[in-house]
């Protein structure tokens, strides 16, 4: 388990999300963690990161955490307040470097379910559906996925519903389906570690463990087999400055990060 000493797990997740982003790139963000991670990146190592919201907010300087990806905060001091057609067309045309999503259920190829648990037509549990997730995962050059609680229930062998494309059923499947070339999942972040995808099989592969987490925990908390690298790294830790920004500037009410 992650050692919760200077920070809690949610703060660590937000920091880890920020750490995989890069300066002078575009990031198309979903609600919650992805927004917080992008805000932190912008306030630390990536001041020229351009945040894109699906409803039309392009390149805002976020004054506080937006509750929705369409509210006025998402175009506060932005370079443009346009439309969904504009944001989605720019994405489809290749202007998005990172897509960034939260998810509830994922399989070994990075495919995501946010539509339904159980049968589609008479569901056991109905979830919100794709929203812009299918679009950003189809169009973005590199997709980052945050799953706050990795477990056998969230890392599954078979999704109840494939809402959003990862590598579908493996190598070349995206291209075969007609999705844009050289796109797909890039990083998966959970409370246990950071993952990438094996080049050859397009299967989930561990990159680093968070401080205090063991390989056994990673293996125990997945229904599918996670590929292991020759050398497992340790995930970077947030500095006091990162934590101060998260707590004081980004989520002072502790809405996503907790208290």
């Amino acid at each position: 388990m992650l050692i919760e000493d200077r920070y809690n797990t949610r703060e660590f997740l937000a920091f880890t999300g920020a750490s995989v982003l890069e300066d002078k790139k575009t990031v198309f963000v979903g609600t919650g963690f992805p927004i917080i991670a992008s805000m932190l990146a912008q306030k630390t190592h990536s001041p020229k990161l351009v945040i894109v919201f699906e409803a039309g907010g392009l390149g805002p300087l976020l004054p506080e955490l937006p509750v929705s990806v369409g509210e006025s905060r998402t175009f506060h001091k932005a370079i443009a307040a346009s439309s969904m057609h504009d944001a989605m067309s720019l994405s489809q045309a290749g202007y998005i470097d990172f897509g960034f999503l939260g998810a509830a259920q994922m399989d070994m190829h990075g495919n995501i379910n946010t539509t339904v648990i159980g049968n589609h037509d008479l569901p056991q549990s109905r979830l919100p559906g794709s929203g812009g997730a299918n679009d950003v995962a189809s169009f973005a050059k590199k997709l980052i996925i945050i799953i706050a609680k990795q477990s056998k229930r969230t890392f599954v062998n078979n999704l109840d519903f494939l809402t959003t494309p990862g590598f579908l059923d493996g190598p070349n499947a995206r291209e075969k389906a007609g999705l844009p070339k050289d796109t797909g999942p890039y990083r998966v972040i959970t409370q246990l570690g950071i993952y990438g995808f094996d080049e050859k099989t397009k299967r989930l592969q561990l990159i680093s463990l968070h401080p205090g987490v063991s390989v056994d925990e990673v293996i125990e908390n997945s229904s599918f087999e996670i590929m292991l690298p020759n050398k497992v790294e340790t995930s970077p830790e947030p500095t006091d400055k990162d934590l101060r920004i998260l707590r004081e500037e980004i989520d002072p009410a502790g809405i996503v990060l907790g208290k």
């Binding site: 609600t31 409803a55 989605m88 489809q92 979830l127 809405i255």
Partner: protein
């Protein structure tokens, strides 16, 4: 073009493009005339049982709640709704029993606030059916094809997924690139309602915010009700015509409703009323709670002004303005 794949979702609101043109010719007046009326009149004239309806804005932003409440008050039934990121509006309408079909891009959730107890309960019991799935771009481009007067528009999303399999799209081989491509069918909602910052009596409307999908939705919907914070002179529209987001040609009714998006946000004017949304989320855990909410805030009031008084009146509205302008701190009363 060979069809490679066919989604099994129900095709809502599609018309042959010539039929669509003919309908416009017969039904949409080109006359610059006063279209102002009450919400009651607009809904009774333009919303019919069984219609395919679409609400403007996005989630909890710039939503025509005055029309949503009026649809409930007039007990419209068997409506199909575009779940084009339709959240609070859809949740309340489904809870009230007005909707029995939804095509979902994003519904049944309130983003950071969590899932929607009311509409999920109705869907999980089978009383309201999800007849098709799509994505936000998928819905947006249904409207785009509709506004362009073409039967479909090609896209590169939805491919390879169950979202595509349960959509009303078809997959074909693109005759230019030879690659598989998705075809998104046009949508022509029977009625749309969109809340704007200001418009003239003819319906020429300005929106001081992201347009989200409203540029396209306003033009593809067969009937369009505009609710507005303010009515301005046509002269002001003509002075800065580049600000017109929606031209009068596509508008059927203009309804003046200050604060008409409450409890949702109106960018630049007022923020979400989180207390009110939290009250709905809490009450709507049971059908009895939904009924109590509706009898208090919808059936129990005869005007939007009286509804606003019930929600906290001037004091609350001033707070929501200050909150929108970042002069008040963030609150999250729905947080467990």
């Amino acid at each position: 073009m060979d069809i490679i794949k066919e989604g099994k979702g129900e095709l809502l609101g599609w018309h042959d493009p010539d039929e669509a043109r003919e309908w416009v010719l017969q039904n949409k007046s080109r006359e610059l005339k006063d279209k102002t009326m009450s919400a009651k009149e607009a809904v009774s004239r333009f919303v019919n049982d069984g219609d395919f309806i679409a609400s403007g804005g996005f989630g909890h932003i710039r939503v025509s709640m005055a029309i949503v409440y009026e649809i409930i008050r007039q007990k419209k039934r068997n409506l199909a709704m575009a779940g084009k990121t339709a959240v609070h509006d859809l949740d309340v309408l489904v809870g009230a029993g007005c909707i029995n079909k939804v095509e979902v891009a994003y519904s049944f959730g309130h983003e950071l606030r969590g899932l929607s107890p009311a509409s999920r309960r109705v869907v999980e019991s089978g009383q309201c059916k999800v007849v098709a799935e799509t994505s936000n771009a998928g819905y947006q481009w249904r409207f785009l094809a509709g506004m362009m007067g073409i039967p479909f528009i090609p896209s590169r999303n939805l491919l390879g997924t169950d979202t595509g399999n349960y959509s009303s799209c078809k997959g074909v081989k693109d005759p230019f690139s030879g690659k598989p491509i998705n075809l998104i069918p046009a949508a022509y909602p029977d009625i749309a309602f969109i809340h704007v910052h200001r418009c003239d009596i003819y319906g020429n409307a300005q929106i001081d915010a992201i347009l989200v999908e409203d540029f396209e939705l306003s033009r593809c919907a067969r009937r369009l009700i505009i609710t507005t914070e303010e009515i301005i002179d046509n002269e002001i529209i003509r002075r800065e015509p580049w600000k017109t987001a929606i031209p009068f040609l596509v508008v059927d009714a203009v309804v003046k409703v200050p604060h008409g998006s409450h409890p949702c946000e109106m960018p630049g004017m007022y923020y979400y009323d989180e207390d009110h949304i939290a009250e709905w989320l809490n009450l709507s855990r049971t059908q009895e709670g939904v009924d109590n909410y509706l009898s208090k805030y919808v059936f129990g009031v005869d005007s939007f002004d009286n509804y606003l008084k019930l929600c906290g009146g001037t004091k609350k509205l001033n707070y929501l303005k200050n909150r929108e302008l970042l002069k008040e701190p963030m609150v999250a009363p729905w947080r467990k």
